[in-house]
C-alpha cells in the first residue's frame, strides 16, 4: 500500500512537469528571448592611515600613517537566454584588475640589518602592491520551467533573507556586509547548487542542495541542504526555512515582511542554529521620497555568526543599523540626477561604529559617477574600531549598457 502511494506520488511529481511540457505555448509568445547587460566600473579607493596586518617578526617600531590607493577596474557582463519560456541559460561574470599604490617597505621603521624582518615585511605587503587580476563567475546556471515547477542547476546568488544590512536566516545568501549591504561593486558570488521550485497560487516551495566543493577555500562553506516554504497571506510575505549543513548544524528560520499604511514596511528574521538569532527592521518613506531604514540584530556568539574581530568569550552581540537616503533630489533645481544617502552601523556592546556616506550623480543614459566614504570609529580591539584604516574614500565611474 505504502509502495503504491509512493509510486503515485513519484509519478505525479514526474508527470506534472512532463505534461506541462507537452502543452503548446500561445502563438504570440516569442521563441527566443535574449537579455544582457554590460557594466564597467573604475573604482579608486584611498585608505587613510592603513595598518596592514604585519608579522610579529617584523618588529615594527611605529604605527605608520600611510594612504594606500587601490584602483579596481571591473568588467561585468551578464546575460540570460530563454527558449519558449521553458529553458533558460544565464551567466554573470566579473573580470577584476586590482592595482595598488602608496604602500612600500620604506614606510616602516625596520630594524637595520635584519633581512628576516625585511623579507617578512615584504611578504606581508605583497597583497598591497602591484597589480592583481581575477576572474569571478558570479552566476552561471541553466534552468527548466515546466508548469508549476522550476528546476535549475549551476551557480546562483540566492537570497532568502529579508534584512537590509543583516540576515540571520539567509542560509544560502552571500555574506552580508552591513557597511556595504548592496554589494556596491557587484562582486558577490553565488553558490553552486541544484534547486527545484514549486509555485502554485500564493504557495511557493524551494528545495536546494548546494555544494561547497568549488567554493573558495577561505569561504568556510559546507554542503547545504535547505528547504523554504513561502506564502503571501494577509499582506505578510512569510517564509519558513529549514536545513542542514553537512558536518555542521541543522538550522531553522522564519522571515517576514509586511507593509502598513502608505509609508511603513516592517521586516524581521528569526533563526535557530545552536542558539537563536533575531533581526527586526523597519523602513519609513516620507511623502517627498526620503527613505529611513532601521534594523536591530542580535546574533549569538558562535562561529557561524561571529565576526573575526569579536572574541569567542564576548557573549551575544547586539547591532543597530540606521540609514537615510533620497534617490533623485528632483525637488532641488539642478539636483535631479543626484542620489544621496548616509548610514551608520554600530556594535552596541563595544560602542564601535562605521559611518557611511554615498553620493551618486548620473550623466546621460549610460554613465554615472559616485563617491563612497567609510569612517570606522572605536577602540582598536572593538568590532569596527579594528578596521585597519581610519577612513576609506572611493570615487568611481560606472558605465552601463
Amino acid at each position: 500500500m505504502r509502495l503504491r502511494f509512493a509510486i503515485t506520488i513519484a509519478f505525479g511529481l514526474c508527470a506534472g512537469p512532463l505534461l506541462a511540457l507537452a502543452q503548446d505555448d500561445p502563438p504570440s509568445e516569442p521563441r527566443h528571448d535574449f537579455r544582457y547587460t554590460i557594466s564597467a566600473i573604475n573604482d579608486a579607493t584611498f585608505y587613510s592611515s592603513l595598518r596592514p596586518p604585519l608579522p610579529p617578526s617584523a618588529n615594527m617600531l611605529n604605527d605608520p600613517s600611510v594612504t594606500l590607493l587601490q584602483n579596481q577596474l571591473l568588467l561585468e557582463p551578464s546575460f540570460t537566454l530563454r527558449y519558449r519560456s521553458r529553458w533558460s541559460l544565464a551567466s554573470s561574470v566579473a573580470g577584476l584588475a586590482d592595482s595598488y599604490r602608496g604602500l612600500s617597505a620604506t614606510d616602516f621603521d625596520l630594524p637595520p640589518d635584519n633581512p628576516v624582518a625585511s623579507a617578512a615585511l615584504n611578504a606581508a605587503l605583497e597583497p598591497y602592491s602591484g597589480t592583481h587580476t581575477q576572474f569571478r563567475v558570479k552566476e552561471a546556471y541553466g534552468g527548466l520551467s515546466a508548469g508549476d515547477f522550476d528546476f535549475m542547476v549551476g551557480r546562483r546568488i540566492v537570497r532568502w533573507g529579508t534584512g537590509y544590512a543583516f540576515t540571520p536566516a539567509g542560509v544560502l545568501d552571500p555574506p552580508r556586509d552591513p557597511t556595504n549591504p548592496t554589494d556596491r561593486l557587484n562582486l558577490n558570488q553565488g553558490r553552486d547548487m541544484v534547486k527545484a521550485d514549486f509555485v502554485h497560487g500564493p504557495h511557493a516551495m524551494s528545495l536546494v542542495w548546494s555544494s561547497a566543493a568549488l567554493a573558495p577555500a577561505n569561504a568556510n562553506l559546507h554542503d547545504t541542504t535547505a528547504f523554504r516554504y513561502n506564502i503571501l497571506v494577509h499582506g505578510f510575505d512569510t517564509s519558513l526555512i529549514a536545513g542542514d549543513d553537512r558536518g555542521g548544524d541543522a538550522f531553522g528560520g522564519l522571515t517576514f515582511t509586511r507593509v502598513f499604511g502608505q509609508a511603513w514596511e516592517l521586516h524581521g528574521e528569526a533563526a535557530w542554529r545552536e542558539q537563536g538569532a533575531v533581526l527586526a527592521g523597519a523602513k519609513y518613506i516620507t511623502p517627498i521620497g526620503v527613505s529611513f531604514i532601521g534594523e536591530f540584530y542580535a546574533p549569538p556568539n558562535i562561529p557561524y555568526y561571529r565576526d573575526r574581530s569579536i572574541s569567542p568569550l564576548a557573549g551575544r552581540q547586539h547591532y543597530a543599523f540606521l540609514y537615510a537616503g533620497k534617490s533623485r533630489l528632483r525637488e532641488l533645481p539642478g539636483w535631479k540626477q543626484w542620489d544621496l544617502s548616509g548610514s551608520v552601523v554600530t556594535n552596541l556592546d563595544d560602542r564601535s561604529y562605521t559611518a557611511i556616506f554615498d553620493a551618486t550623480r548620473r550623466f546621460g543614459s549610460h554613465f554615472s559617477s559616485y563617491l563612497h566614504l567609510e569612517i570606522p570609529q572605536g577602540s582598536k580591539t572593538s568590532d569596527y574600531g579594528a578596521t585597519p584604516y581610519s577612513a576609506a574614500t572611493s570615487v568611481g565611474v560606472r558605465f552601463q549598457l
Binding site: 504570440s28 551578464s78 522550476d150 532568502w160 521586516h267 549610460h366
Partner: protein, 255 residues
C-alpha cells in the same frame, strides 16, 4: 348640494394629483439622465486594458524646460486587474523589475539580488510614477462619482471624481474627463491625500489593435515643477497567456 360639493371636491383632488403626477413625469423626462459613473469608468479602463492578459512596451520620454531629459523603456505584463509585472529595459535600470499583486508591491534590484518590499508611497516615485505605468485599472482602485458635463476643446466630456478605495491606488483623488460619445479618456488631474494637485494628464493618441481601440500616447504634466512633463508611449500591445508564476513575489531572475 352636499352631493355636488363632494363630487367637486373629489374631482379637484383627482385633478390635483393628476397634475402633480404629470408634473413629476414631465420634469423627470426633461432632466438628462445621470450617467452611471461606474460603468463609464469600466468602459474607459478598456482603452488601456484591452484583454484579460496582455503585454505591452512603455516608452517614457521626460522633458525638462522643453528639452528631452531622459528616456526610459519598460515591458509591462498584466494579468487580470491584480497582477502586474514590469521589467525595466533602459540601460541604467536593466535587470530591475517591479511586481504588483493587488495592494502589495515588490521591486527586484540586481544589486541586492532579492525582491524588496516597497510601500504605496514609493509607487509615486519618478516623473511618471511606478503606479502610472503599472496601475491603470481605475475601476478597481477608485470609487467614481459623476460631477458634471463640460467641454474640453471641441469634445463634450463627462467629468468624474474618483476617490481611492484601496491602499493600492496610486493617487488619493483623480478628476477624470471622459468623452461623452465613447468614454475615451481625454484629460485627468491627480491629487495627493493632502489635496495637493500633483500632476495633470492629457490622453493624446489612440490606435486600433486587433480590432480594439487602445491608448497609444499620453502626457503627464508635473504641477509642482511646471517646466517638466513626461510622454508615455505604448507599443507592441498584444494579448498573451501569462503563467501565474511570472507574478510570484519571490522571483529572483535577473531578467
Amino acid at each position: 348640494m352636499f352631493r355636488i360639493n363632494c363630487v367637486l371636491r373629489t374631482f379637484l383632488l383627482l385633478f390635483f394629483f393628476g397634475f402633480l403626477l404629470a408634473y413629476v413625469f414631465v420634469c423627470h423626462a426633461a432632466t438628462p439622465a445621470t450617467p452611471d459613473a461606474g460603468a463609464l469608468l469600466k468602459r474607459s479602463d478598456a482603452y488601456r486594458n484591452g484583454w484579460p492578459s496582455f503585454v505591452l512596451h512603455v516608452k517614457i520620454t521626460h522633458y525638462e524646460s522643453g528639452k528631452n531629459d531622459e528616456d526610459k523603456l519598460y515591458e509591462v505584463s498584466q494579468k487580470g486587474t491584480e497582477k502586474t509585472y514590469v521589467e525595466f529595459l533602459s540601460p541604467r535600470e536593466k535587470g530591475q523589475h517591479l511586481l504588483m499583486l493587488g495592494d502589495d508591491m515588490w521591486v527586484y534590484l540586481p544589486d541586492t539580488s532579492r525582491p524588496i518590499r516597497i510601500t504605496p508611497l514609493e509607487r509615486l516615485n519618478g516623473d511618471a510614477s511606478n503606479g502610472d505605468v503599472a496601475h491603470t485599472n481605475y475601476a478597481v482602485d477608485y470609487l467614481p462619482v459623476f460631477l458634471r458635463t463640460e467641454k474640453v476643446g471641441a469634445e463634450d466630456c463627462y467629468v468624474l471624481d474618483l476617490t481611492a478605495k484601496r491602499k493600492g491606488a496610486t493617487y488619493q483623488r483623480i478628476l477624470y474627463w471622459l468623452r461623452v460619445t465613447d468614454a475615451r479618456p481625454v484629460r485627468a488631474e491627480f491629487y495627493l491625500t493632502s489635496g495637493k494637485h500633483i500632476k495633470s494628464a492629457t490622453f493624446d493618441e489612440y490606435e486600433s489593435v486587433e480590432g480594439k481601440t487602445q491608448l497609444r500616447r499620453w502626457t503627464l504634466y508635473d504641477e509642482i515643477r511646471h517646466n517638466s512633463h513626461s510622454v508615455l508611449e505604448y507599443s507592441g500591445i498584444a494579448p498573451r497567456d501569462l503563467a501565474d508564476k511570472l507574478f510570484y513575489q519571490g522571483r529572483t531572475d535577473r531578467f
